[in-house]
């Protein structure tokens, strides 16, 4: 393991002339990761190599076929497929049987590979009142929480904005997701708090995180507006937010999920990692 992690780092140094530096030692109070899809124009192997150099711990949103590539670089597949899609998922009872099968299969795979988290969604509203959608999500998660608990894998219900990117998505408020988690009340069923999405929907990020940290297992980042770099070009001060997250004693992952627009995407990623290294 030591050798495997050492080799890619050593191999990466010549190519890393853009950043012209050794892999930076990180304070590491927060374990950072990056979402695969934001760097889709690079091969997964390239992304993993660069991520490892930057001191990242994992890659988010990668399927099991990609896990060997991720692990080869000493990284963790930090958030993996669970069940459902953004539009069609837990808020409809008619989906539950199919979702349960997906969960069973994906949680088993995650457990076998030592993968910590699987993702799920509420689905779109389609006119369903919040209370009904909420009850349905709770019922769907109650069906599978025991499997997750036994496997030691956390099911993460993602919060997304319904104002700009995902019109009609139901799990679009922290209070709603937290109410689902409270009713399910399992150490293995938590919310995925996406800072970008929640800044669009409700703001008050640090207070919300502090008040609900026991229901949050994972974070996503992104600059607002635009979902690009999380640097000084956008309205959130990610350093203070990460400081607040670390200060709560959070031990999960904070995964970058922004689309870089600057000339050098890996430089943008390096800056993001630096900003959040508190």
């Amino acid at each position: 393991m030591t050798r495997r992690t050492f080799l890619p780092v050593a191999a990466g140094i010549p190519a890393a002339t853009l950043s012209a530096s050794q892999p930076a030692p990180r304070k590491g109070r927060l374990k950072q990761a990056v979402s695969r899809w934001c760097f889709n124009k690079y091969s997964l192997d390239e992304l993993c190599r660069r991520a490892a150099e930057l001191g990242l711990k994992g890659i988010d949103l990668v399927g099991s076929e990609d896990w060997p590539t991720v692990k080869k670089r000493g990284l963790v597949p930090t958030m993996t497929p669970g069940a459902g899609s953004i539009e069609h998922s837990l808020n409809r009872k008619e989906n539950h049987a199919k979702l349960e099968l997906e969960f069973r299969e994906n949680i088993a795979k995650a457990k076998a590979a030592g993968v910590p988290n699987v993702i799920t969604f509420s689905g779109n509203r389609r006119g369903l009142p919040d209370e009904q959608g909420l009850e349905n999500c709770v019922a769907g998660l109650n069906r599978v929480k025991k499997i997750a608990e036994d496997a030691g894998v956390t099911i993460c219900l993602e919060l997304l904005n319904s104002k700009v990117d995902h019109k009609d998505y139901q799990c679009d408020r922290t209070a709603w997701a937290v109410e689902v988690c409270k009713r399910v009340n399992s150490p293995r069923v938590k919310a995925l708090y996406d800072i970008y999405h929640m800044q669009i929907m409700e703001g008050d990020v640090i207070r919300t995180i502090r008040e609900n940290i026991q229901w949050i297992a994972h974070f996503h980042t992104g600059g607002n507006p635009g979902r690009n770099e999380i640097d000084a070009s956008q309205e959130l001060n990610y350093r203070a937010i990460c400081q607040a997250i670390a200060d709560t004693g959070f031990t999960g992952y904070v995964a970058h999920e922004f689309v870089p627009v600057k000339a050098d995407p890996f430089r943008s990623l390096a800056e993001a990692v630096e900003i959040c290294d508190v």
Binding site: K163, E202, D204, R207, N224, A232, L236, N237
Partner: protein
Amino acid sequence: MRRRDLLATAAALPAAAAAQTVQRKGRLKQCATISCFGRKATLEFAAREGARLGLKGIDLIGSSGWPVLKKYGLVPSMAPGGGTIADGINSKDNHAKIEKQIRENIELAAASGVPNVITLSGNRRGMADEPAIEHCAAFLNRVKAMAEDKGVTVCLELLNSKVDHPDYHCDHTWWGVEVMKRVNSPRVKLLYDIYHMQIMEGDIIRAIRQNIQWIGHFHTAGNPGRHEIDATQELNYWAIAQAIVDAGFSGYFAHEYSPLGDPLKSLDDAIAICDV
């Protein structure tokens, strides 16, 4: 009054001369409330030091203090208008009384070249949004002609009802904008408080860009806590100030926080952060 001012000016001059005035780019006209100068600050101190740090005005000072501001070349950038946070223009019962206040205050402001007067929605007290919006619009429609004639802008303040002002009615941008649209006057605008709106709704830059034509004034503060606007809190004020300037905003942008650190150092930092 005059004699006291003269004395104060004389006393202040050597100090002002000793401490160099800070040069700013000044694309954004920045101001501050007296709270930014620390708990014990006098108006004289705030005006002198504010001017030195490059501020253009002091917010929320009544007419008795205007001569002090003017002595230092500062504008009373937001003056009293009518109503209180709890009892404002959302209730028709208050209209006659507030109309009298605001007409007096517009008159005073116009006579002194003061650009803005403030007003407030008042608390909900169980009132639904629609009648309250209609009441606010009706009141502002009663006074807008005078504001237009006098060249004074009436600013309706947005505040958070979640932490600091429970039950305040004008607590979302859409709500304030709806009032503005029904009044549709160049002299009736919103006071968009960035701190309060971050608590209530977030998405600051988008909200400002989309609604800039209805905004007459800004307030700042760090969130959470309402302290410094620096790296200790969740908003990147530099990018927000940049977006405001880029939107073509020509009004005033006032800091309104209570400093935890040295007040003048913090204010210098705040002005530098927003000097885009």
